[in-house]
């Protein structure tokens, strides 16, 4: 067996895993703060990416474009809170979940209606095929940068959670809604913050993925990839999301390379899910998730 090749696959897996985590982060934020599983995260990635790329195409400088998109995402977050979440505030989580499915469709439709459904090339000035050489293994430069961005984002987020008022507030809510409310933090504002943050995370994910696959409808489906990541890592933990991403990433790559051959390939679509199922059966709350206790 060729260890260099294995290494290459492994590292490749890890790096792509990081990109899953990037998407997963968005889910985690919202789930942590509101217990809502936001199925629309993928659509938000698509929307953010499309907005951003179209702004660029209009000739707006990148930083400005990022800024504007961020603002748009915040507006979107506010709109969602107003129109969707507030009326459903006391409903079962499962209802909220289905609502986000609806939201997912809405945003997907909107994104493509407002912008368009063509494939847009997003060039960050990194050559996709350029790679570092380590021994006989080739590690894709782009993936490395992506990983760095992701890492950076995680760092920023954790700082944000630890050192800002609102960040602490979010943690408080995550730990115990009542407590949070009793210290006088209105749930609504929290939700707006969370969704905005999630939106911005989506933007980052969108940029990264967009420049990898090109900005197109397909990238909304990376959300589906992120779901098993969450299950494995646990819905409530940022490091969990990262780790889950890594596991899924290299898991699927290795499986594809070493098993795929025997079963006609393309197993990365379902392999993560099977992995997730496995985890669910053993530890429903995920590796890092907090145990769910039911009171009789």
């Amino acid at each position: 067996m060729d260890w260099w090749f294995f290494l290459e696959v492994f590292v490749g897996g890890l790096l792509s895993g990081v990109m899953y985590s990037l998407v997963a982060l968005g889910f985690v934020l919202i789930f942590k703060a509101s217990g809502v599983f936001n199925f629309a995260q993928g659509a938000m990635v698509l929307f953010a990416a499309l907005t951003f790329v179209r702004l660029l195409e209009m000739g707006i400088p990148m930083l400005a474009a990022i800024g504007v998109t961020m603002v748009i995402m915040v507006i979107l977050a506010i709109a969602i809170e107003r129109i969707v979440l507030r009326p459903l505030v006391n409903q079962d989580l499962i209802i909220l979940f289905m609502a986000t499915i609806g939201l997912n469709y809405f945003i997907e439709g909107m994104a493509q209606l407002v912008w368009d459904s063509k494939v847009h090339v997003l060039d960050l000035g990194i050559d996709e095929y350029d790679a570092f050489e380590i021994g006989e293994a080739f590690i894709n430069k782009f993936d490395v940068y992506a990983a760095l961005i992701a890492g950076g984002l995680v760092l920023v987020l954790s700082l944000f959670f630890r050192y800002t008022v609102i960040g602490r507030a979010l943690r408080a809510v995550a730990d115990d809604h009542q407590a949070a409310l009793s210290v006088g933090i209105p749930l609504r504002t929290i939700w707006i913050y969370v969704w905005s943050t999630a939106g911005i995370v989506a933007l980052v994910a969108g940029i990264v993925w967009g420049s990898k696959l090109g900005v197109q409808f397909a990238i909304s489906s990376v959300a589906l990839k992120a779901i098993p990541v969450l299950i494995i890592g646990g819905f409530t933990s940022v490091p969990g999301a990262i780790l889950g991403g890594l596991i899924v990433g290299c898991g699927e790559k290795l499986a594809e390379v070493y098993l795929g051959g025997f079963v006609g390939g393309a197993i990365e679509n379902w392999f993560p899910y099977m992995l997730a199922l496995l985890v669910l059966m053993i530890r429903p709350e995920g590796i890092f998730g907090e145990k769910i206790i039911e009171r009789v």
């Binding site: 809405f106 439709g109 909107m110 779901i227 199922l277 429903p284």
Partner: protein, 355 residues
């Protein structure tokens, strides 16, 4: 106002527990059946039969199946299409292997296989709930889709992966024209609806609803959650499988995995949510809604813009409208059209009094 119930008293439980205890409802039901079996065939043209009514009925059946699982037993599933696929492929394969099998038997077999697979993927529901479960069913969706695309055995090694469904003949005469297909599908759907209604008002149905409403209490009164949930998965998937077979054989005429992708799963989930969780009529209302809305939008679109509007744009608007409707119903009437219908009925029964 049409309900004149005075004098409709019941002297036995048999009468009191009849499927439609109110006389006026009986009449309405009979009238509707007559309409479906006689009036529609007399007046509907092939376009309506082939591209609206038959698909509508097939999808209603799938929605009915999902409604058993999600609406009655409270177990959400995003893998409906996968179970449909199983139904379609199973019945196809049976017929390919044993050509002399009548297609109805094949359909039944399809349903049974789907039921089996459904129960298999239902197993996680014993440990996990809510959207965790939804995820488990997503796994089914992707896995099965993949299975049928990558193993030629299922597609009988046809090169394209797209295969035309075998012809159907019932008691000698072929079911090939829209009308005969309509009758076929309609009969199957009506029977299934009847069965589901009966289950819903029997011991099993109550067990399902108990699990849905308050599983701890359900356990405390001796309901075996595992058996009950798996039964729900079984019955639900059976119906979905049947629907899948119909979809492939009758609607498309071809058996192809692409017809059962995740989008279909969501479509059917939407039907159930919009139509109404936990009601038979909901499945039909929802399906009707989901089928008619696009057509409506198309016509509106071309009407307003005079045909200049691109189908793509319309598709996008469709997306938004569906999404919006889901949210709207979840907010305004989580029990969907069926509930609205029911409220209306209540009002009629109380008329002219407001309460």
């Amino acid at each position: 106002m049409f309900y004149r119930e005075a004098g409709q008293f019941k002297t036995s439980y048999k009468k009191d527990q009849a499927i439609l205890p109110i006389f006026q409802d009986k009449i309405a039901m009979v009238a509707m059946l007559l309409f479906c079996f006689i009036v529609i065939p007399l007046f509907a043209n092939d376009y309506w039969l082939a591209s609206i009514l038959v698909p509508f009925l097939a999808l209603s059946l799938a929605a009915l199946g999902l409604n058993v699982l999600t609406g009655y037993a409270g177990q959400i599933s995003l893998g409906t299409a996968a179970f449909m696929a199983v139904g379609a492929f199973a019945s196809f394969n049976l017929q390919v292997r044993i050509p002399e099998i009548p297609f109805l038997v094949a359909f039944l077999w399809g349903g049974l296989c789907a039921a089996g697979v459904g129960i298999l993927f239902g197993l996680p529901s014993l440990r996990i709930k809510g959207f965790y479960l939804a995820v488990a069913t997503l796994a089914a969706q992707f896995f099965i889709e993949w299975l049928f695309t990558h193993f030629d055995w299922f597609t009988n090694y046809s090169t394209s992966g797209v295969i035309t469904a075998p012809p159907m003949t019932l008691l000698g005469f072929a079911i090939d024209n829209p009308l005969s297909k309509y009758f076929l599908v309609l009969s199957i759907v009506v029977i299934c609806a009847f069965f589901v209604r009966n289950l819903a008002r029997s011991e099993i149905g109550r067990a399902w609803m108990a699990v849905r409403d308050m599983d701890i209490a359900a356990e405390a009164i001796g309901i075996n959650l595992m058996k009950t949930k798996l039964l729900a998965f079984g019955v639900s998937s059976f119906l979905c499988g049947l629907a899948g077979a119909l979809w492939a054989y009758v609607v498309l005429g071809t058996v192809e995995p692409q017809a059962f992708d995740i989008a279909r799963s969501f479509e059917i989930l939407f039907m159930v949510v919009i139509g109404g969780l936990g009601s038979v009529s909901g499945a039909f209302l929802g399906a009707g809604f989901m089928i008619l809305l696009p057509i409506l939008l198309n016509n509106l679109g071309s009407l307003i813009t005079g045909g200049t509007i691109s189908t793509e744009t319309i598709a996008h608007i469709e997306y938004m409208v569906f999404g919006a409707f889901i949210i709207f119903f979840l907010i305004v009437e989580p029990n969907g059209l069926a509930r609205l219908w029911q409220i209306g009925k209540e009002k009629l029964r109380l008329w002219p009094f407001p309460y």
